[in-house]
Subunit: 213 residues, 2 copies
Amino acid sequence: MSRRPPLSRPRILEAAVAFADEHGADALTMRKVADALGFRVMSLYNHVANKNEMLTGMVDLVVGEIEPPPTRGSWQELMQASAASAHHVLLRHPWAASEWSKRHPGPNRLRYMDDILRILTEADLGPSIVYRGYHAITMHIVGFTLQEAGFEGEMASDFEQMAQDFLDQMSDQLPYLAEHVRGHLDPCGHGDEFAFVLSLILDGLERAARPRG
Amino acid sequence: MSRRPPLSRPRILEAAVAFADEHGADALTMRKVADALGFRVMSLYNHVANKNEMLTGMVDLVVGEIEPPPTRGSWQELMQASAASAHHVLLRHPWAASEWSKRHPGPNRLRYMDDILRILTEADLGPSIVYRGYHAITMHIVGFTLQEAGFEGEMASDFEQMAQDFLDQMSDQLPYLAEHVRGHLDPCGHGDEFAFVLSLILDGLERAARPRG
DNA sequence: ACCTGAACACCGTTCAAGT
DNA sequence: ACCTGAACACCGTTCAAGT
């Protein structure tokens, strides 16, 4: 707990990410970040333009944690591996999926985008499938994690209680939803849903590019 | 422009949605909503618990605009129609996709969830595919629109300029990304990407449920 | 060059007072 | 029952002053 190593942009972003990880993005405040570092608010502005730019930097820092894709394997394997790493990173930083789509890409994200596009291009799927596939895949990675994070953030411990109340009151009016909620309460899981849905997309792209694959 | 019809919860939510549509969710303020209605801030609190609860109500109001699924057609057709309506609604309210995943479902959203699950259940895909398919589909609808909204919000008019600058500076370091950006600049579009990716998911679900379909 | 105190315009929300 | 003024604790950010 050594207080006051010197202030710097990386140290600020690091502390801000840690704070958001623990307390959520809504609670993130310039003053709180400064407190966590042992400085006063205004000191931050010597290294960061403003809160918005700080958040952009935070997202790019998080993107930097994603493992680069492996060098060997089928294009689906490369993509699954890269997506799994991105998924893990975004689950570690539950606020980041929501910010991802709101901000300009920084250097790490540009690098990441290029990696994904390289895999697709070298898979020889044709320019149109590469173009659309890229959007489908990034949408899945961010969108799916966003849904998971929102789900866990909101509910977590009291989900079971809420679900029970819902089942008691609404089962007859919304029977299909009731059945789905029972699925969520089922302790034996449904396997890796993230990878499952991604495989639907990847297989679909492969089939669209090479109908007689 | 008749000022001051009486205040009420629906009128507040309506005004708040209109304000967020025009100025974005970040600019939304209790004081601004009150101003737009011709009242003072504190009057709002007689009809809404607080800003958070107001936002939850706003999302549910928007979900209420989604058309119920048609009554006839293949399950894929029903799903495509329902998803297209949801997509249009979320594009009309670009802030809503981002809030969707952060808030508890209200009555309209519970109804909507039940509709989606009914389509899947009656398609006879089996409980496991229904469960996972539901998550895949809602993830697509919200996630894809979120990406579109973020894209248009951030850039819009100056996107072409930014893209040109990027191409001039970075083409050699990030060649695959550069090619993708050229695709975005291409005036002849790439068709309905939203429906294309959804069809990948729907076909994949069908195939997973009935391998010899 | 980096840190900071004081100040400004703005938040969401509470409470007590009006009608 | 519904509206509101004053007040509180908190924001992000500017500016001028310190070292």
